[in-house]
Amino acid sequence: MCMWGSPFYPYQTANPASSNPYKIYSQLYEPFKEDDDYNKLVAQFRKDLGNGVNLKMSSDKTLRNALIDICDKIEVTFFYPMVYRVDIQQIPDKRKIVENSGKIGSNEYLIRDLQETEFDILFADFEQEPNLDNDHLQLISESISNNEALAILEARSK
């Protein structure tokens, strides 16, 4: 799951378009809704997620390759954007890390250890989205094991 943390101002935010959650949401929702597998932003997310896997999984090459291939081939519906609400005032400053584009003007934080009690889902309407199905619900459930999740993702990456 790709988490984006930044104040959700739809207009005149200090952030450039590439760091504006409102714009990112629309840019991801559109290809999801249209099942557009040729969208450049989705293509970028695929490779960026793959590079993220590459950095985190250097010890297990087989799993690393499987996950990178999933990032590359997974159906575009898996890029369905969800908006989470975080009360940033409740997060201690030492846990709010400013990195990358945050250092060059964007108003955003990286929180590596965000707990489930610290956010709620603002909107992710699984029931109203015909493109989302049981697999998506299973993947966000707490009871799913790593192997089960991997099996679902591989089956949807053909």
């Binding site: 378009a17 590439s18 760091s19 714009k23 990112i24 840019q27 597998d37 040729y38 450049k40 932003l41 293509a43 970028q44 695929r46 490779k47 960026d48 793959g50 590079n51 993220g52 590459n54 390759n65 990178i68 291939d69 590359d72 081939k73 990358n100 584009s101 060059i104």
Partner: protein, 194 residues
């Protein structure tokens, strides 16, 4: 012909994303490991440049880190079949970076970088499709189109040299009169048409 037109076309062609040649495309489609690593390498290249672009792509790592990862990929044995293509594209992104740092407000540099990133993104999308369905036609068409555009830009540049620089040399150094040059040109003595 206006200098800026021919020059900008040539620059645009020479600073566009270098599409892999047919044998390189074959290698990419034949080896899943190579395909995977090449894709990641392109993502690092994009990351290196997005800060200079107006496209809505997001930088994931500092530039220095992207550069380190690019170097790592380049030194990997796995990448050997694509090393020529990779080095050419790497040279372009480094060049872009230098020019953009020296001209922070230049819209034309931004536009060239956007063009490079767009071409690279298009190639990645077509490559992914080809890898999924085993049909490389769209990729070879992309390569042929790029070669043809490069040739045309090169021809236009040569034509400009002929029309401007060489004539100036003939007139200033060899004391030809403009009308004499026209006669020579008519007889195709000066330079052949390209």
């Amino acid at each position: 012909m206006i200098v800026d037109d021919t020059f900008s076309q040539l620059v645009k062609q020479s600073l566009g994303f270098v599409v892999p040649k047919e044998d390189e495309i074959d290698a990419l489609l034949a080896d899943n490991d190579l395909y995977r690593e090449y894709g990641l390498a392109l993502a690092w290249m994009q990351d290196y440049l997005v800060g200079y672009s107006s496209l809505p792509f997001h930088r994931r790592t500092p530039k220095s880190e992207s550069k380190t990862y690019i170097q790592e990929v380049l030194s990997s044995d796995l990448m050997k079949p694509l090393v020529d293509n990779f080095v050419k594209n790497q040279a372009i992104i480094l060049r872009f970076s230098e020019i953009a740092e020296a001209n922070t407000d230049s819209e034309s540099i931004k536009s060239l970088i956007d063009n490079f990133l767009n071409e690279m993104a298009d190639f990645r999308i077509f490559l992914r499709e080809a890898q999924k369905n085993g049909d490389k036609e769209s990729l070879t068409a992309m390569y042929t189109k790029q070669k043809s555009a490069e040739t045309e830009a090169f021809k236009a540049q040569l034509q400009w040299l002929k029309n401007n620089v060489l004539k100036s040399i003939f007139i200033s150094s060899l004391k030809f009169q403009p009308e004499e040059l026209n006669e020579l040109e008519d007889e195709a003595i000066l330079l052949p048409e390209y």
